[in-house]
Amino acid sequence: MKALKRIFGGDTRQFGMIIALVALVLFFQLFTGGKVLTPTNMINLFNGNSYILVLAIGMVLVIIAGHIDLSVGSVAAAVGIVVAIAMRDWGIPWYLGILLGLVLGAVIGAWQGFWVAYVGIPAFIVTLAGMLLFRGANQFVGKSLTVPVPEEFRVMGAGFLPEIGDFARYNAPTVILGFLLIAAVVFLEFRNRRIEARTGATVDPLWVPVTRLVLLAGAVLYVTWLFSTGRYGTSFPVSGLILVGLVAVYVFITSKTILGRHVYAVGGNRHAAELSGVQSKKVNFLVMMNMSILAALAGMMFVARSTSSGPADGVGWELDAIAAVFIGGAAVSGGVGTVIGSIVGGLVMAVLNNGLQLLSVGADMQSIIKGLVLLIAVAIDVYNKSQGRRSIIGMLMNGLRSNQPPTPEKEIAKTSEVITPAEPAGTSK
């Protein structure tokens, strides 16, 4: 058990959630008689959820910064209809359509960011208004009709990588991508290890990363095999590729750049951040704007997949995205959360959806089960917070037992400072 914890624990706490995900997949695989892990089902799962996961990436940043965005579904729908109409009626090519959508997302995001960051209206209100506003805009622009999109545009939502040659029955680009991913993971693992060694972190013995990498590489190989052996003409879906690209970019931003640091700082303690020279207004503005750009992208991906833009696109997406982020270990109060965690959280929801459907569970029960999963995940998060731990991920790692060291005496003394801030418990001269 301890060995397992070492492999999956440590810095990469997301692995805890991944265990839950794997357990869920295996559970459904078993009870559906093997219907989950088939190429067709996996492609469906990715195509049908990638836009929610794109939203989750933006949403985790919003939530880390201490806000929320309820408007993403409506923004996605509004952008979707404008892009669809622009391509149909004005005849602009698909790539300009995408560009137009992203620019429109940025403009909408700037609008919302302005109210949140510079006027100081809570994001909940601004985006609740946005939810109504942009839903109305969608129906106004589209006259509540469905507008089809051209074939080329559909690639981003339902397309596949090309078949190159005929390597037995494998899709070559998928295989290449799979191996590239493994190479990247191995490289990053050992690079991190080197940095950790130099920066005084406790470095695991070599067998730990090796086991971890073997497991991870195994998983990637398996998924590669799944996707590359589907029906001829299918492969790892383009929407999945977009998602992987975004994950890489946003993991980089959140963990390696000043902007990423500032998002966490503003969410963790806005006043302390401001007194350290962080321009929190700018950070809040960018985070809200970024969310709307990703919502625009998600909207276009959805339209591409469903071949047309309609008046009911994106209804309820905000809730799916928010659920993914919180299941992924973000804290309601801000300052905590990871992109990877949110993706895994979103995948947990997606697998749950998919598995329950395959088991022919009715929509009523699906909704009940998903509701309970969200509630329990956040309950564990809140409980952990009250215990001074961080998130559901840590919880899953530690099991239900409390292995925290007893609170040191000094910590207790500090509580008294908090109680009597005016006269810190006899600051003792």
Binding site: I258, E417, A422, G426
Partner: protein, 528 residues
């Protein structure tokens, strides 16, 4: 020294040998307090002496069992388990931060938690009738339906008292009631207290304003370092302000400071006529025409009681991060500089270490290394990427040189003791390469050993030719550390004393009285 209880006044409250310990700190040690029925009893002491802790013990905030000693109230030993229990017995405490709900009306506030109701339905007619009576008793001429947020602090204070009277208070405790009030509101409040006394209500008042105490109190108990020093009768013992000050500070100054020979250079930083308005209250000034200088290598102390405007001055200078800037100039090396926000302040070489580490100084979710570099991320960023190796090297360097006690710089700051947290905050600001550091209560909540180390760091910073401003409520600390000390009272600088002129008594005098302001503002110590 204790005055003899010659009259046969019944004692309403006696606190016997109250000892209250927090882990590692003895906040109160054998404190005794005797309050006679129908008198106004003042409690005096420096910040942190234990006055508020004592009142929290009395009112049940610290419940029975969490302290040692007895509370005898109306001839019975009491075991208050919470505030409700003490209120039921007629003890009402009015805190410095008022506990009113701004959006509710005066009437609703008065009856909050104590509504005249039958089966859960409030009888507003009855409430109105009683609130009009109560408002008349406290001399507040306002419509009971006025929202509390629309009346001034002085009137809000009266609403609090009306609320207390409604609970048929027998012993009223006021913690710094006039701290936020202006002259005439204060006077009204003091008159009201005398009026209540005439009606037989006993009051305990905690106040830093010694002239007010002299004016209304019958007896004074002085608390120092968590011990009750003496109880004086104003009339019988012929007490005046000087006598109270002597009681409050009367202790020897131990050698708790590292050896340090200041090397003071030319004027580094000068502030002229700095005037700042309160962020919410339109016509209230938190800094009034303040001017001061800091020279290279100099440690300048700022003395003032809680609420005098020290922090407000510091934060308004630090990129206008507090209050509404009205007027004033800042010069660095003789050149006027304009600082409008915090990034500009940091760029101009200012650093500000806040008095409130937990809510303003630290992101408690962070670890040591991220905190250390958080005010100067650019210095460790190549292109877009924050260089984590550099981050580690920098943080590790400060951890070693400041001797921060933590296993590694990967440790979360929430796990550190107060002293080590403060070292991390100091490291964060040292890494921004400041010329002037403003340290607001740098040793608050820090144990004695760590204080010594922090003093050492401060002196080193001065030795490097930086200017250092130390704001502190602890006079011995200022006297031990500073080369020059400014005093602040009610937002105005009331004087400046050289290290060798300053004594606790002289400082306390300048810190507690506005009447002496102005004349002392052109002191001999002013650098040329």
């Amino acid at each position: 020294m204790t005055s003899q209880n010659t009259q046969s006044d019944p004692v309403i409250l006696e606190m016997r040998s109250i000892t209250k310990e927090f882990p590692g700190v003895k906040a109160l040690s054998e404190v005794s307090l005797r309050v006679k029925a129908g008198e106004i009893h003042a409690i005096c002491g420096e910040n942190g002496a234990g006055k508020s802790t004592l009142m929290k013990v009395l009112s049940g905030v610290y419940p029975f069992g969490s302290y040692d000693g007895d509370i005898v109230y109306q001839n019975e030993v009491q075991q208050f388990k919470d505030i409700r229990a003490s209120e039921a017995a007629g003890i009402v405490i009015i805190h410095q931060e008022l506990a009113l709900i701004p959006e509710l009306s005066i009437m609703e506030n008065i009856f909050l938690g104590n509504e005249p109701a039958r089966r859960g339905v409030i009888n507003w007619g009855e409430a109105r009738k009683r609130s009009i009576e109560l408002l008349a008793r406290v001399g507040l001429r306002e419509d009971p339906d006025t929202p509390v947020k629309e009346i001034g602090v002085g009137k809000q204070q009266l609403v609090e008292i009306a609320k207390a009277l409604n609970k048929s208070v027998k012993l009223l405790i006021l913690d710094e009631p006039t701290a936020a009030l202006n002259e005439s509101d204060s006077q009204h409040l003091l008159d009201l207290m005398l009026g209540l006394k005439a009606k037989g209500i006993t009051s305990i008042i905690i106040s830093h304003k010694l002239n007010e105490i002299e004016q209304i109190a019958d007896e004074i108990t002085i608390i120092r370092d968590g011990k009750s020093v003496e109880t004086l009768n104003i009339v019988a013992d012929g007490v005046d302000e000087d006598r109270i000050i002597k009681g409050m500070v009367g202790r020897s100054l131990e050698s708790r400071f590292p050896e340090h020979t200041p090397e003071i250079g030319e004027v580094l930083f000068e502030v002229r006529n700095w005037t700042v308005g309160h962020p919410q209250v339109a016509d209230r000034l938190v800094c009034k025409n303040s001017s001061f200088t800091v020279r290279r290598g100099e440690i300048v102390g700022f003395a003032g009681l809680m609420g005098a405007g020290r922090t407000e001055l510091a934060r308004s200078l630090f990129g206008r991060s507090y209050g509404n800037f009205i007027s004033g100039q800042v010069f660095k090396n003789g050149q006027e500089i304009h600082i409008r926000n915090v990034p500009q302040a940091i760029k101009a070489g200012l650093a500000y270490v806040t008095e409130d580490r937990k809510s303003l100084g630290l992101n408690l979710l962070d670890d040591i290394k991220t905190t250390t570099v958080s005010a100067n991320l650019k210095a460790i960023t190549k292109g877009l990427v924050v260089d984590k190796r550099k981050e580690f090297t920098v943080a590790e360097g400060y951890r070693k040189s400041l001797r921060t006690k933590a296993p590694t710089v990967n440790e979360g700051v929430s796990k550190l003791s107060g002293g080590n947290q403060q070292k991390v905050v100091l490291a964060k600001w040292m890494f921004t390469g400041p010329d002037l550091l403003i340290l607001d209560e740098p040793t608050r909540g820090i144990d004695v050993g760590a204080k010594y180390e922090i003093y050492g760091i401060i002196q080193q910073l001065a030795q490097q030719g930086k200017g250092v401003i130390v704001i502190s409520s602890e006079l011995p600390e200022l006297l031990g550390l500073s080369d020059r000390i400014y005093t602040i009272f009610e937002g105005a600088i009331t004087g400046v004393l050289d290290k060798d002129q300053a004594t606790q008594e002289s400082l306390m005098r300048l810190m507690t009285s506005a009447t002496r302001a102005g004349n002392n503002a052109a002191p001999t110590a002013q650098p040329a």
